[in-house]
Every structure is written in structure tokens, then in C-alpha cells.
Amino acid sequence: MVKVISGGLYTTIQDLGRYGYRKYGVPLGGVMDSYSSRLANRLVGNNRTEAVMEITYIGPVLRFDIATEIAITGAGFSPTLNNIEIPLNTRIQIPEGSILKFGLPGYGQRAYLSVAGGFKTEYIMGSYSYHRGITLKPSIDTGDQLSIATYTNGQSEVTASVKIRRSYFTSSVIEAFKGPEFNSLSELFQQQLLNSVGVILPESNRMAYLLKGYETLSAKEIITAPVQPGTVQLMPSGRCAVLMRDAQTTGGYARVLQLTEKAINLLAQKRAGEEVQFKLL
């Protein structure tokens, strides 16, 4: 069991998402940055489908009531174990009773905490991913108790650690394919969409990132049609939204671009105020 001493800003349990339920209007959900979460799982010897903890900007304080192994990946937090600094992107032994803190990130904004065997919280419709209205809780609160897999010693003989390129967090290039309505834009608007610099607005969240900087553009609404994580919607007013993992399954705004999986991961690490530019593949 992991006891949550402090919940942090927006901490959730996530896996790769809830597949097979989108026709019932259930958002896919899942880790915002699938690259970092996959790494976290790999470091402790987990399957990529195991549930991890997603930590957003202000980390939680956790007490481990049983011994296990963990890894922390993603944003540049300065975690401590029993007040001693521990490295990121490294497998770490956790003795029973340890207290894990995160501090604030120096770069990026989402970290992933994996535990050996994965988190075993509420499993619903094929997924551990927290989602408002689907799981009992939308996010982790102070006082919660989280089940984790029973730890069996043995995987921990070898030290596992990796280096991550800093450009993963600093690059402003967001690669995308043409969306279904890209060709309905005038040539001028197509160019402006690709040449403008977008600024991430503070309202951005797991459902969508809102971007400023496209106000001179406009696109007609469409008949409500499927959308997915990574869909870039342009509204008649020039408002621009990049749908993220908790996006609705259908939408009525023009789908002008579709981000690559890698671009969704990169964007998930960007904070309000940071700049991005779309690049067509």
C-alpha cells in the first residue's frame, strides 16, 4: 500500500487508456506522455501496459508501507527518498516505510512514477486510468491509500538507468499530419497555421491544450464527427485547441491537423506560456 500524505496539484493513476469504449462516448484517457511512462515501466521491469502515477507540476508526498522498486521519469523534478536526493530515470530500491517527495520540476511538467508490478487501483472498463465520471475519483487526494503489486525480490540485481535528451523538453516543433479539414482551409490560412507561433494558455488540461496566436484564422464548424487525442481543432473565432488524452470522442470543430504520437508526448510536457509551432509531415 502507498499512503498519500499530500496529493499534489493533479496526481492520477494512468495506463495506456480505455480501449474499446469510445463508441459509448468514453474518452480514451491514459498517460499524457506515453514515451516517459513507458520508460518508467521498463526501468522496473514492467510490461508497458502497467499503471503508473502521473504527477503534474506539484508532486505528491507518498509513504510506502511495503518495500518495492520504483523509477521516476519525465519532467525534471528533484525527488527525495527520506530526504535524500534520488536520481531520475533510474531504478531505485524502496525500503518499507520510506517517504518519497518530488519538489518542483526544473523543466517539463509531468513526471511518471512506476512501481514494480504496477499500481493496482480501481480497474474499470479495461483500464486503471482515472477519469471523472468513470472512476470513483477524478484525481488522487491527500489521505488516499493506493494498492500496488506485491514485490518479489530478484529483478533488482542490475542497476538500470538511462539518459534522456534535454531537447525532448525544449523543442518547440510539433509534428503533425494534415487533418480531415486541412484542405478546406484557404492556402493563406494553411500557411498561417504552419507559420504562426502558438502560445499555450493556462486553461490547458488533460482534455485539451488551448493555443493563442491563430486569431486571424477561421474555420467553419463541421457536422459532429470523430476526434481523437492529437486532433487540432480550429474554431470560427480563430481559437485553436489541441485535443489531448481525455478528449471527447466526437467534436464539431474543423480538424485541421493531427499530431503524431511523439508530438502529443512533447506537448504534454509543455507549460502555459511556452511557445509551439506546427510542422507538417
Partner: protein
């Protein structure tokens, strides 16, 4: 088939089929038939399909090459056999149109020069087709709203619409299946549970079903709510033989 859809890639492992026809019950029936056809013939290649009014998205497994999949799809005869799970139903949905549950019914009435009782009578008359489920878990996009009830959305969406609320947004009517922000004018509330994550399927209404609203008093609403709570309410569902 009558009009084949236009296929295009929609990101790395997703195909999108679009019928360029607008909102139309016949076209939507074709979308749903196509969805069944792909489910029946390509269950190994696909993760899931999301149908909408006149388009559908096919989510492919990462190992499937989209171009090859499309070729195979074109080479397969478009045929569907109705299986039991695709049987569609007419679901009777109780709605209390009384003012506590219907904050905007007067707005709908005055916008269309109608009395409140006319609004209720026009709203309970049609057999609404569930075109697809979207927006919220279990939220049905319903076709068939009487033109005399069309009412523009609110200029500013409301932060909180209670679950079960039945609303009108432009030419559409639907049910807020979970508490949610929303911009539609609310004319009543249903005590039914439209989405239950512990049930399979979790959505009470499915694409292709039909909805018939019937008016209940506040007293009946409370009674049905209690019956649902203790599991004794029986939802009226008839097989649709259209």
C-alpha cells in the same frame, strides 16, 4: 451500396470514412451498417470504430498497414448479417418537465411562440433515432426533433448541468448522461441512469436505438428514482422492427 464513403488517413493508425451528405437518417443508418460490416469482417485488425452522423473512424492495431487494410476492405463484399447483439430497441424514457427540473422550458416556449404544454406535447411525440453516442459517456445524439422546438444554444454555456437533464441545442435534443458543463436549454430531467460503468455495455442507449420520451410528474420521478436505486425499476424496451 448506394454511396460509398470517402476514406482518408486520420493520423498514424486511424482511418476516417466520410459521406458528404449532411445529417440524414438514411445516411446514418448506412454509417452504422458499415460499422457492423467492419466489425464482422475485420475484428482482428481493428481496436474499435466510432460512428458519428455521416462519418466513422476506424482505430487500427499498430501492426496493421492502413493502405493494405483499405484494399482488403474494398475487396470484401459489403454484406451484413444481423446478429442478436445488433438488435435495436425502442427505449421509453420518463422525463419530468416540471419547472424545478426544467429551468429553460419557458425560454424554449417563448422562443417558439408556444405554451409550455405545447412544448411538452411536441417533445414527447416523435420517435427519436439515436444517431451515435458522443460528447459524454452515454450521451445520445438524437435525430427527429420537431422544427417548432428548435432553439439556439445559450450564448455562454452553463458550468453545471445536472445528469439526466434533457436539453435542446439548435435542432438537436439530447440527454446529459453525467453532470457536465453545457450550453443547451434544459426542458426536463429523466431519473434513468444512462451510463453505468459496471454494466456491459455501459451505455443504456446505443447507436441505432430509438428513444420515446414520456412525461411524468415530480412524484413519479421521485418514485422511479427510488426504484432505480433499489434495482426494481424495469425500463420499457421494445424490439424495433423498422
Amino acid at each position: 451500396m448506394k454511396e460509398p464513403p470517402i476514406w482518408q488517413k486520420f493520423g498514424e493508425h486511424v482511418l476516417l470514412a466520410t459521406w458528404n451528405t449532411g445529417i440524414d437518417e438514411k445516411v446514418n443508418a448506412e454509417v452504422l451498417r458499415y460499422s457492423n460490416f467492419i466489425h464482422q469482417n475485420f475484428s482482428k485488425e481493428i481496436i474499435e470504430i466510432v460512428p458519428a452522423y455521416c462519418s466513422l473512424a476506424v482505430y487500427l492495431h499498430e501492426s496493421v498497414v492502413a493502405k493494405q487494410f483499405l484494399e482488403e476492405l474494398r475487396d470484401t463484399r459489403f454484406e451484413t448479417t444481423k446478429t442478436a447483439s445488433e438488435q435495436r430497441y425502442i427505449v421509453s424514457v420518463p422525463v419530468c418537465y416540471k419547472s424545478d427540473f426544467a429551468p429553460d422550458i419557458a425560454t424554449i416556449a417563448s422562443a417558439n411562440d408556444l405554451s409550455v404544454s405545447e412544448v411538452i406535447s411536441f417533445h414527447t411525440k416523435p420517435l427519436y433515432k439515436v444517431f451515435f453516442i458522443g460528447f459524454l459517456p452515454g450521451f445520445p445524439y438524437l435525430g427527429g426533433l420537431d422544427k417548432r422546438l428548435h432553439t439556439p444554444r445559450k450564448k455562454t454555456p452553463q458550468r453545471y448541468v445536472e445528469k439526466g437533464s434533457v436539453g435542446i441545442g439548435g435542432g438537436q435534443t439530447g440527454i446529459y448522461t453525467l453532470d457536465s458543463p453545457g450550453g443547451w436549454n434544459i426542458l426536463g430531467r429523466s431519473p434513468l441512469r444512462f451510463f453505468s460503468s459496471e454494466l456491459e455495455p455501459p451505455s443504456l442507449l446505443l447507436a441505432g436505438d430509438y428513444v420515446k420520451f414520456f412525461s411524468v410528474s415530480k412524484k413519479e420521478f421521485i418514485k422511479i428514482e427510488a426504484q432505480i436505486e433499489n434495482g426494481t425499476y424495469k425500463i420499457k424496451k421494445e424490439v424495433y422492427n423498422g
